[in-house]
Subunit: 623 residues, 2 copies
Amino acid sequence: MSPKITTELLKQLRQVMKSPKYVQEPVQAYIVPSGDAHQSEYIAPCDCRRAFISGFDGSAGTAIVTEQHAAMWTDGRYFLQAAHQMDNNWTLMKMGLKDTPTQEDWLVSVLPEGSKVGVDPFIIPADQWKRMSKALRSAGHDLVPVKENLIDTIWTDCPQRPCKPLITLDLSYTGVSWRDKIVALRSKMAERKVLWFVVTALDEVAWLFNLRGSDVEYNPVFFAYAVIGMNTIRLFIDGDRMMDPAVREHLQLDSTLEPEFKIQVMPYGSILSELQALGAGLSPKEKVWLSDKASYALTEAIPKAYRYLTPYTPICIAKAVKNASETEGMRRAHIKDAVALCELFNWLEKEVPKGTVTEIIAADKAEEFRSQQKDFVELSFATISSTGPNGAIIHYKPVPETNRTLSVNEIYLLDSGAQYKDGTTDVTRTMHFGTPSAYEKECFTYVLKGHIAVSAAIFPNGTKGHLLDSFARSALWDCGLDYLHGTGHGVGSFLNVHEGPCGISYKTFADEPLEAGMVVSDEPGYYEDGSFGIRIENVVLVIPAETKYNFKNRGSLTFEPLTLVPIQTKMIDVNLLTQKECDWVNDYHQKCREVIGAELERQGRHEALRWLIQETEPLVRVQ
Amino acid sequence: MSPKITTELLKQLRQVMKSPKYVQEPVQAYIVPSGDAHQSEYIAPCDCRRAFISGFDGSAGTAIVTEQHAAMWTDGRYFLQAAHQMDNNWTLMKMGLKDTPTQEDWLVSVLPEGSKVGVDPFIIPADQWKRMSKALRSAGHDLVPVKENLIDTIWTDCPQRPCKPLITLDLSYTGVSWRDKIVALRSKMAERKVLWFVVTALDEVAWLFNLRGSDVEYNPVFFAYAVIGMNTIRLFIDGDRMMDPAVREHLQLDSTLEPEFKIQVMPYGSILSELQALGAGLSPKEKVWLSDKASYALTEAIPKAYRYLTPYTPICIAKAVKNASETEGMRRAHIKDAVALCELFNWLEKEVPKGTVTEIIAADKAEEFRSQQKDFVELSFATISSTGPNGAIIHYKPVPETNRTLSVNEIYLLDSGAQYKDGTTDVTRTMHFGTPSAYEKECFTYVLKGHIAVSAAIFPNGTKGHLLDSFARSALWDCGLDYLHGTGHGVGSFLNVHEGPCGISYKTFADEPLEAGMVVSDEPGYYEDGSFGIRIENVVLVIPAETKYNFKNRGSLTFEPLTLVPIQTKMIDVNLLTQKECDWVNDYHQKCREVIGAELERQGRHEALRWLIQETEPLVRVQ
């Protein structure tokens, strides 16, 4: 990787920072955050402005350019990558290290008195604006919104904003019609006494209308906003996608509907002016509900007294709790996904010893097997296919420069998943195609014990996921080991592979309690820099648990694994397992055999079936 | 318990709420919080204003009186008690229930437009003022500080503020002189670039100067503030306590000292005017450090631009990490405490079958045995001595109306502790003096498993206590059981039995990481309303742990029990324990035998020694 040369670009940016064409007054600093106008985790190429200006294309980072400096804040996952991708114009600010200043502190230390700091108000979330604005103001500077994105003004070959066709999902997939979702949303609005709800997150728009798109890679979403009133529905979306007869039919655009279900379609770009008009016309007690992560621009459109902000929207919470149709869809998707992985692992067992399989070839082969399955749409994230030392890079993605060949001497870690029309998958398996060392088996077994501790945990209704995180670490902690990432994230139903409001992590506290129907991942790991990486990940469904007693009638919950892919028994040191843990593995493998075995049989995949049978032989614990 | 008749008092209060003698403009509502001017958990009788006006004397509650209404907010521990103690003038607001309005929402719903809401600015913490003031302002009302406490104006027989003699602690107890503590504090201040530090919490003043008092029951503290500058020390304290030669000597008041260690003694009541003078004279960049829980009055004395507020002060954090002298003192205190409890339990085993021992008698006997020990000062909290159904009332304290007789048919729970000059104790044991039922043993054993899971946990340096909370619940959760309180709190060293900034609870997230030298309690429980309560509590010291590996060189921690009192084996269902848990109990009892046995021997307490030997017989697990 050679760094991007940014001297000329920075010169141009510094010119427009002073140009009366774009700014009312010159700005002495300009902030370029990672996100798009919807605060998406994955973004479209046209929104990769921070990567364009700096060369650094990791998923997290914020660039700030002043007249003299250019600085990039990113976290530990990306220190190496950012250093490689950026030229000498840039200073890397390593977040999480003690001596690294915050963006605010740094700005205060380098700016001349009374400076203006510019930012695109559509890109910065309202809560971040507030924090930064306050810090700058207290030091005598001003954070100012710059309407036109200054990167876009110098990005001459900026790709077009994608505007791809939509997919309509019928009731067999969604379980609930968009009309009923609107009714439920309005009842939540009535409860909180708000009259308007602004949908800003892309997956929330998609979920609400039972539509999917492909504007952003891996995430089946499309660029749109929606504003739901008690009697009106406005959908802000561009292109001729609304001309598609299937979409018109699905949204009943041409039917005579009760007025409160009539969807007004408006241009994507008109959201701000429409919200401003709405904001200007509000009478006292008319509140507008927005996520507190909505952009500063949209939040400001509503006068402060009329705003109702929450960290999680009612759509976010409703979307997380899968209904029976969605749950069945998720089960089907995971069965198909397991078939593809059985094929892959069977193929790898044969091919790896020949020395011809690279990380990229293995990833491609995984995609090939997945794409053979019904209703396959695309991958759900960039496949992490990593062998040996690459496995220790937690967010690794093989590229030609780093591509290693799989061998019988190294641990192989595959973290991959797909979007099917009936569900989203995300699974990690760690394999050895030769003979693992005792130490590798020991570490793998601790990770497995953590995986089981979460998966088999029983906990009261109302428990937040972060309270389960330590269960995943206990076996590692006992030996002085740990892993530096969370244990689980919410998973969408043919939607984003990472979604809120639940998860399993020591890092969050504001997660919503786990509820039956929620879907999360369970993925503890262990990583030894320069040597190997281990992770065991299943997607699991929250289900009611039967318990001997029932304190305060609260009821209990536990998890059911949706992922049904064998866990390599060769990697397990059986004597480190308790009998209960051993039984868990055997029960899990029995279920893999039954469910996935039947599907492999049905699909006539006999060789993969033989592999499955062999990989699911029961463990025997020597007492 | 008959309720307090408050009709006349409320009439008087409503008069002074309008009297120009006390308020600049009439206030339409007056808030009476629980606390004192130092945000203490335990308060002196003169500060029990909320109890005076309402009759409700639980430890937590806020009263609000308007022209028409009087309402009391309290939490689930006190619903019953508050309902009993208050007359019909009062409405009970049950916090934590879904339909209970917040104080702000309730005020907004009952107040006429443009109302003034008064509160004593010395009693309300700055962070609470901020929240409430904002909510009221956005509804068109004003929160206003009322200088004179309006309750005090009508409380004709209000007790005097205590002003008891001080105890000086020499280096053998404290390990560090007050001068060295000042030096360390000033270095923390220099790190954060603050020039002044205001000490507002009573235990922080006591710790800093190596002094103790007895102004507040159970807490060896005294009413005082301190303001530490880089070159000055001001101690705000009343009475002739500074005339005591031992105190003068200890503080070197009459010595010729370097000026930066010369303590200026000032009247307790002059803190506000002194801080205001300080605040008025600050030049730019001169910051003043306060706890964000300091009173609104003191916080406001410093202009906003000069304030540096943190949730935990450097004194709070330094105080939590016990040094070698303090640790040794804590060990000694716990040995003496265990001797007293062995005497007590031996006595109970003989006396309970006679049917003459009540909860109050047992509590008094416990105090009697403790008071025989060297350096005993007082109890560290009101003894919870509860049998049968009373055990299920988590914050029970026996009074004549509720006093039950201990019997061989009920579970007995004793949660008690003491202040010794060398340390503070807090221990809970749950006993049966007859034959426990299988169900009682089962529940006890789950609680024990939780206690062991925390006590034996190994975790990386930097782990926050709240991440260990679920370990204490896991065995209960597996059977659908739980307990509705946290698992542990910080414990002071001859100081408050509850102290920050660490703890073990699902409720907090902002706790500071555990560090070697910190002392916390480990006290899971199980409570069955109307039937019994179980709790097993040890005070434990955070110590470094030896582990097989050492990930990222972070090092690991674990706990060492300081409490060494037998856990009644009669209550344990051994077959529910793993071999590891069984070994833990046996090792723990072996240590009790050795350490406490030697001390009982030394004190010639032979009968109690025989009891100890018998109670620490090893468990045998049938495989």
